[in-house]
Protein backbone atom coordinates (compact mmCIF):
# COMPACT_ATOMS: atom_id res chain seq x y z
CA UNK A 1 0.00 0.00 0.00
CA UNK A 2 1.39 3.32 -1.03
CA UNK A 3 1.76 5.70 1.89
CA UNK A 4 1.96 8.71 -0.39
CA UNK A 5 -1.51 8.04 -1.78
CA UNK A 6 -3.00 8.01 1.71
CA UNK A 7 -1.19 11.17 2.76
CA UNK A 8 -2.69 13.21 -0.02
CA UNK A 9 -6.19 12.78 1.33
CA UNK A 10 -5.47 14.06 4.80
CA UNK A 11 -6.90 17.52 5.29
CA UNK A 12 -4.85 20.09 7.20
CA UNK A 13 -7.12 20.35 10.25
CA UNK A 14 -5.09 22.85 12.24
CA UNK A 15 -4.33 25.02 9.21
CA UNK A 16 -7.95 25.39 8.15
CA UNK A 17 -9.03 26.21 11.68
CA UNK A 18 -6.33 28.87 12.02
CA UNK A 19 -7.55 30.35 8.73
CA UNK A 20 -11.10 30.48 10.04
CA UNK A 21 -10.05 32.16 13.29
CA UNK A 22 -8.01 34.77 11.39
CA UNK A 23 -11.13 35.57 9.38
CA UNK A 24 -13.17 35.83 12.58
CA UNK A 25 -10.67 38.39 13.94
CA UNK A 26 -11.36 40.66 10.96
CA UNK A 27 -15.06 40.42 11.84
CA UNK A 28 -14.21 41.28 15.43
CA UNK A 29 -12.41 44.44 14.32
CA UNK A 30 -15.27 45.36 11.97
CA UNK A 31 -17.87 45.19 14.71
CA UNK A 32 -15.39 46.50 17.30
CA UNK A 33 -15.15 49.75 15.36
CA UNK A 34 -18.93 50.11 15.44
CA UNK A 35 -19.11 49.40 19.16
CA UNK A 36 -16.54 52.16 19.60
CA UNK A 37 -18.69 54.53 17.55
CA UNK A 38 -21.68 53.59 19.69
CA UNK A 39 -19.81 54.14 23.01
CA UNK A 40 -18.46 57.54 22.01
CA UNK A 41 -21.79 58.88 20.71
CA UNK A 42 -23.57 57.43 23.69
CA UNK A 43 -21.17 59.17 26.08
CA UNK A 44 -21.87 62.45 24.29
CA UNK A 45 -25.66 62.00 24.00
CA UNK A 46 -26.53 59.94 27.07
CA UNK A 47 -30.01 61.39 27.54
CA UNK A 48 -31.07 61.01 23.90
CA UNK A 49 -29.75 57.44 23.69
CA UNK A 50 -31.60 56.60 26.87
CA UNK A 51 -34.85 58.04 25.53
CA UNK A 52 -34.55 56.43 22.07
CA UNK A 53 -33.66 53.05 23.55
CA UNK A 54 -36.99 53.02 25.42
CA UNK A 55 -38.76 52.83 22.05
CA UNK A 56 -37.17 49.52 21.10
CA UNK A 57 -39.26 46.46 21.86
CA UNK A 58 -37.51 44.62 24.69
CA UNK A 59 -39.67 41.50 24.28
CA UNK A 60 -38.74 41.02 20.59
CA UNK A 61 -35.08 41.59 21.47
CA UNK A 62 -35.19 39.08 24.32
CA UNK A 63 -36.99 36.46 22.19
CA UNK A 64 -34.40 36.87 19.44
CA UNK A 65 -31.62 36.46 22.01
CA UNK A 66 -33.11 33.17 23.22
CA UNK A 67 -33.58 32.00 19.59
CA UNK A 68 -29.97 32.75 18.68
CA UNK A 69 -28.57 31.16 21.87
CA UNK A 70 -30.63 28.03 21.18
CA UNK A 71 -29.44 27.94 17.56
CA UNK A 72 -25.88 27.99 18.90
CA UNK A 73 -26.70 24.94 21.02
CA UNK A 74 -28.18 23.02 18.07
CA UNK A 75 -25.15 24.03 15.96
CA UNK A 76 -22.68 22.61 18.46
CA UNK A 77 -24.86 19.50 18.85
CA UNK A 78 -24.70 19.00 15.05
CA UNK A 79 -20.90 19.03 15.32
CA UNK A 80 -21.02 16.67 18.31
CA UNK A 81 -23.19 14.23 16.34
CA UNK A 82 -20.86 14.26 13.34
CA UNK A 83 -17.94 13.64 15.72
CA UNK A 84 -19.86 10.55 16.83
CA UNK A 85 -20.38 9.65 13.15
CA UNK A 86 -24.14 10.05 13.44
CA UNK A 87 -24.81 11.82 10.14
CA UNK A 88 -28.58 11.61 10.45
CA UNK A 89 -28.85 13.42 13.78
CA UNK A 90 -26.14 15.87 12.69
CA UNK A 91 -28.30 16.77 9.68
CA UNK A 92 -31.38 17.21 11.88
CA UNK A 93 -29.55 19.62 14.16
CA UNK A 94 -28.21 21.60 11.19
CA UNK A 95 -31.76 21.91 9.84
CA UNK A 96 -33.07 23.05 13.26
CA UNK A 97 -30.26 25.64 13.38
CA UNK A 98 -31.29 26.92 9.93
CA UNK A 99 -34.94 27.09 11.02
CA UNK A 100 -34.04 29.09 14.15
CA UNK A 101 -31.91 31.47 12.07
CA UNK A 102 -34.88 32.05 9.76
CA UNK A 103 -37.19 32.75 12.72
CA UNK A 104 -34.64 35.28 13.98
CA UNK A 105 -34.71 37.06 10.62
CA UNK A 106 -38.52 37.05 10.46
CA UNK A 107 -38.65 38.69 13.91
CA UNK A 108 -36.08 41.23 12.75
CA UNK A 109 -38.21 41.91 9.67
CA UNK A 110 -41.29 42.66 11.76
CA UNK A 111 -39.28 44.79 14.16
CA UNK A 112 -37.79 46.88 11.38
CA UNK A 113 -41.13 47.17 9.51
CA UNK A 114 -42.76 48.42 12.69
CA UNK A 115 -40.10 51.13 13.08
CA UNK A 116 -40.21 52.10 9.40
CA UNK A 117 -44.01 52.19 9.50
CA UNK A 118 -43.74 54.79 12.27
CA UNK A 119 -41.45 56.83 10.07
CA UNK A 120 -38.28 55.87 11.90
CA UNK A 121 -35.49 55.09 9.46
CA UNK A 122 -32.24 56.91 8.60
CA UNK A 123 -33.00 60.22 6.89
CA UNK A 124 -36.76 60.07 7.48
CA UNK A 125 -38.87 63.24 7.86
CA UNK A 126 -39.91 62.06 11.33
CA UNK A 127 -36.30 61.73 12.51
CA UNK A 128 -35.09 65.04 11.07
CA UNK A 129 -37.45 66.73 13.53
CA UNK A 130 -35.82 64.98 16.48
CA UNK A 131 -32.56 65.52 18.36
CA UNK A 132 -29.23 64.61 16.78
CA UNK A 133 -28.65 62.10 19.59
CA UNK A 134 -31.79 60.16 18.65
CA UNK A 135 -30.77 60.27 15.00
CA UNK A 136 -27.38 58.83 15.91
CA UNK A 137 -28.98 56.10 18.00
CA UNK A 138 -31.28 54.95 15.20
CA UNK A 139 -28.54 55.24 12.55
CA UNK A 140 -26.34 52.97 14.68
CA UNK A 141 -29.29 50.67 15.45
CA UNK A 142 -30.09 50.12 11.76
CA UNK A 143 -26.41 49.90 10.79
CA UNK A 144 -25.34 47.43 13.49
CA UNK A 145 -28.41 45.18 13.60
CA UNK A 146 -28.53 45.35 9.78
CA UNK A 147 -24.92 44.25 9.39
CA UNK A 148 -25.52 41.56 11.98
CA UNK A 149 -28.60 40.44 10.02
CA UNK A 150 -26.49 40.18 6.86
CA UNK A 151 -24.11 37.94 8.82
CA UNK A 152 -27.02 35.74 9.86
CA UNK A 153 -28.06 35.45 6.19
CA UNK A 154 -24.47 34.56 5.21
CA UNK A 155 -24.38 31.99 8.02
CA UNK A 156 -27.63 30.45 6.78
CA UNK A 157 -26.23 30.10 3.25
CA UNK A 158 -23.13 28.37 4.67
CA UNK A 159 -25.34 26.08 6.80
CA UNK A 160 -27.37 25.21 3.69
CA UNK A 161 -24.19 23.91 2.06
CA UNK A 162 -23.30 22.09 5.28
CA UNK A 163 -26.70 20.35 5.31
CA UNK A 164 -26.11 19.15 1.75
CA UNK A 165 -22.59 18.01 2.64
CA UNK A 166 -23.67 16.05 5.74
CA UNK A 167 -26.67 14.55 3.89
CA UNK A 168 -24.37 13.12 1.20
CA UNK A 169 -22.69 9.88 2.31
CA UNK A 170 -18.91 9.63 1.96
CA UNK A 171 -17.73 7.20 -0.69
CA UNK A 172 -18.73 3.71 0.36
CA UNK A 173 -15.93 1.19 0.67
CA UNK A 174 -16.14 -2.59 0.65
CA UNK A 175 -14.31 -4.84 3.15
CA UNK A 176 -11.58 -6.79 1.41
CA UNK A 177 -12.99 -10.09 2.68
CA UNK A 178 -16.27 -9.45 0.89
CA UNK A 179 -14.56 -9.27 -2.47
CA UNK A 180 -14.34 -11.93 -5.16
CA UNK A 181 -10.84 -13.46 -5.56
CA UNK A 182 -10.48 -11.49 -8.78
CA UNK A 183 -11.21 -8.20 -7.12
CA UNK A 184 -9.06 -9.12 -4.14
CA UNK A 185 -6.07 -8.89 -6.41
CA UNK A 186 -6.71 -5.19 -6.52
CA UNK A 187 -6.81 -4.92 -2.72
CA UNK A 188 -4.40 -1.99 -2.73
CA UNK A 189 -7.03 0.22 -4.30
CA UNK A 190 -9.61 -0.83 -1.73
CA UNK A 191 -7.30 0.00 1.18
CA UNK A 192 -6.62 3.41 -0.27
CA UNK A 193 -10.35 3.94 -0.61
CA UNK A 194 -10.80 3.09 3.04
CA UNK A 195 -8.29 5.80 3.93
CA UNK A 196 -10.06 8.23 1.66
CA UNK A 197 -13.38 7.44 3.27
CA UNK A 198 -11.95 8.33 6.67
CA UNK A 199 -10.25 11.47 5.44
CA UNK A 200 -13.47 12.61 3.77
CA UNK A 201 -15.33 12.24 7.06
CA UNK A 202 -12.60 14.22 8.75
CA UNK A 203 -12.83 16.92 6.11
CA UNK A 204 -16.59 17.13 6.58
CA UNK A 205 -16.09 17.49 10.32
CA UNK A 206 -13.57 20.32 9.96
CA UNK A 207 -15.84 22.14 7.50
CA UNK A 208 -18.81 21.83 9.82
CA UNK A 209 -16.67 23.00 12.75
CA UNK A 210 -15.55 26.07 10.81
CA UNK A 211 -19.15 26.83 9.81
CA UNK A 212 -20.00 26.47 13.51
CA UNK A 213 -17.25 28.92 14.50
CA UNK A 214 -18.81 31.50 12.17
CA UNK A 215 -22.32 30.89 13.49
CA UNK A 216 -21.15 31.20 17.09
CA UNK A 217 -19.32 34.45 16.36
CA UNK A 218 -22.56 35.88 14.97
CA UNK A 219 -24.16 34.79 18.26
CA UNK A 220 -21.41 36.44 20.34
CA UNK A 221 -21.91 39.72 18.46
CA UNK A 222 -25.64 39.62 19.18
CA UNK A 223 -24.90 38.92 22.87
CA UNK A 224 -23.27 42.37 22.96
CA UNK A 225 -25.75 44.13 20.65
CA UNK A 226 -28.78 43.11 22.70
CA UNK A 227 -27.97 44.89 26.01
CA UNK A 228 -26.50 47.94 24.26
CA UNK A 229 -29.62 48.70 22.22
CA UNK A 230 -32.48 47.17 24.15
CA UNK A 231 -31.45 47.28 27.80
CA UNK A 232 -29.32 50.29 28.62
CA UNK A 233 -32.06 52.83 29.07
Amino acid sequence: MSDAAVHEYHPDVKGSKIGMWLFLFTELLLFGGMFLLYSVYRAKNTGDFHYASLNLDLVTGAINTVILLTSSLTMVLAIGMLERRDRKRSLYFILITIALGLVFLVNKYFEWSHKIHHGIYPGSVELTGRTSGENLFYALYFLMTGLHGLHVIAGLVVLGFMAKMVATPSRQSVPVTALTPDARAGATTVLVEYAEHDALDQQKLIRLENAGLYWHLVDVIWIFLFPLFYLIS
Binding site: K14, G32, L58, T65, L73, E83, F226, P227, L231, I232
Partner: protein
Amino acid sequence: MNANAHAANRQPLPLTTYVTVWVALLMLTGLTITVASLHLGAWSVLAAIIIATVKGTLVLLYFMHLLHEERVFKVMLFLALFTLTIILVLTYADVLLR
Protein backbone atom coordinates in the same frame (compact mmCIF):
# COMPACT_ATOMS: atom_id res chain seq x y z
CA MET B 1 -0.39 13.37 9.58
CA ASN B 2 -0.48 12.06 13.12
CA ALA B 3 -0.77 15.52 14.60
CA ASN B 4 -3.61 16.32 12.24
CA ALA B 5 -5.47 13.11 12.91
CA HIS B 6 -5.09 13.79 16.62
CA ALA B 7 -6.46 17.32 16.35
CA ALA B 8 -9.57 16.14 14.52
CA ASN B 9 -10.15 13.19 16.80
CA ARG B 10 -9.97 15.26 19.95
CA GLN B 11 -12.10 13.60 22.61
CA PRO B 12 -15.69 14.67 21.86
CA LEU B 13 -17.19 16.67 24.72
CA PRO B 14 -20.22 15.10 26.38
CA LEU B 15 -23.39 16.59 24.89
CA THR B 16 -24.72 17.37 28.39
CA THR B 17 -21.92 19.96 28.73
CA TYR B 18 -23.40 21.90 25.80
CA VAL B 19 -26.89 21.76 27.28
CA THR B 20 -25.57 22.99 30.66
CA VAL B 21 -23.79 25.92 28.98
CA TRP B 22 -27.00 26.74 27.08
CA VAL B 23 -29.01 26.79 30.34
CA ALA B 24 -26.37 29.07 31.90
CA LEU B 25 -26.60 31.40 28.89
CA LEU B 26 -30.39 31.62 29.20
CA MET B 27 -30.14 32.33 32.93
CA LEU B 28 -27.58 35.08 32.29
CA THR B 29 -29.96 36.59 29.71
CA GLY B 30 -32.68 36.63 32.37
CA LEU B 31 -30.23 38.18 34.84
CA THR B 32 -29.18 40.96 32.48
CA ILE B 33 -32.84 41.89 31.84
CA THR B 34 -33.57 41.86 35.59
CA VAL B 35 -30.56 44.03 36.41
CA ALA B 36 -31.55 46.51 33.68
CA SER B 37 -35.03 46.87 35.20
CA LEU B 38 -33.53 47.83 38.60
CA HIS B 39 -32.46 51.25 37.23
CA LEU B 40 -29.00 51.28 38.78
CA GLY B 41 -27.91 54.27 36.69
CA ALA B 42 -24.32 54.15 35.47
CA TRP B 43 -23.86 50.77 37.15
CA SER B 44 -26.43 49.17 34.87
CA VAL B 45 -24.18 49.83 31.87
CA LEU B 46 -21.25 48.19 33.61
CA ALA B 47 -23.39 45.24 34.76
CA ALA B 48 -24.76 44.72 31.24
CA ILE B 49 -21.25 44.72 29.74
CA ILE B 50 -19.90 42.34 32.40
CA ILE B 51 -22.78 39.88 31.91
CA ALA B 52 -22.41 40.07 28.11
CA THR B 53 -18.68 39.37 28.49
CA VAL B 54 -19.37 36.31 30.66
CA LYS B 55 -21.88 35.03 28.08
CA GLY B 56 -19.47 35.64 25.21
CA THR B 57 -16.69 33.85 27.10
CA LEU B 58 -18.92 30.82 27.69
CA VAL B 59 -19.71 30.61 23.96
CA LEU B 60 -16.01 30.96 23.07
CA LEU B 61 -14.77 28.39 25.58
CA TYR B 62 -17.40 25.67 25.11
CA PHE B 63 -19.35 26.16 21.87
CA MET B 64 -16.27 27.31 19.93
CA HIS B 65 -14.16 24.68 21.74
CA LEU B 66 -11.44 27.14 22.70
CA LEU B 67 -11.03 25.48 26.11
CA HIS B 68 -9.86 22.23 24.51
CA GLU B 69 -8.08 23.80 21.56
CA GLU B 70 -4.32 23.94 21.09
CA ARG B 71 -2.38 26.77 22.68
CA VAL B 72 -1.82 28.62 19.41
CA PHE B 73 -5.56 29.43 19.13
CA LYS B 74 -5.67 30.92 22.61
CA VAL B 75 -2.58 33.05 21.93
CA MET B 76 -4.08 34.24 18.64
CA LEU B 77 -7.37 35.23 20.26
CA PHE B 78 -5.54 36.99 23.07
CA LEU B 79 -3.52 39.03 20.56
CA ALA B 80 -6.65 39.95 18.60
CA LEU B 81 -8.57 41.01 21.72
CA PHE B 82 -5.53 42.87 23.07
CA THR B 83 -5.26 44.83 19.81
CA LEU B 84 -8.98 45.59 19.85
CA THR B 85 -8.76 46.75 23.48
CA ILE B 86 -5.91 49.14 22.68
CA ILE B 87 -7.86 50.59 19.76
CA LEU B 88 -11.03 51.00 21.83
CA VAL B 89 -9.44 52.40 25.00
CA LEU B 90 -7.08 54.86 23.31
CA THR B 91 -9.71 56.19 20.89
CA TYR B 92 -12.33 56.47 23.62
CA ALA B 93 -9.90 58.27 25.93
CA ASP B 94 -8.84 60.57 23.12
CA VAL B 95 -12.41 61.58 22.33
CA LEU B 96 -13.47 62.13 25.95
CA LEU B 97 -10.32 63.93 27.14
CA ARG B 98 -9.86 66.07 24.04
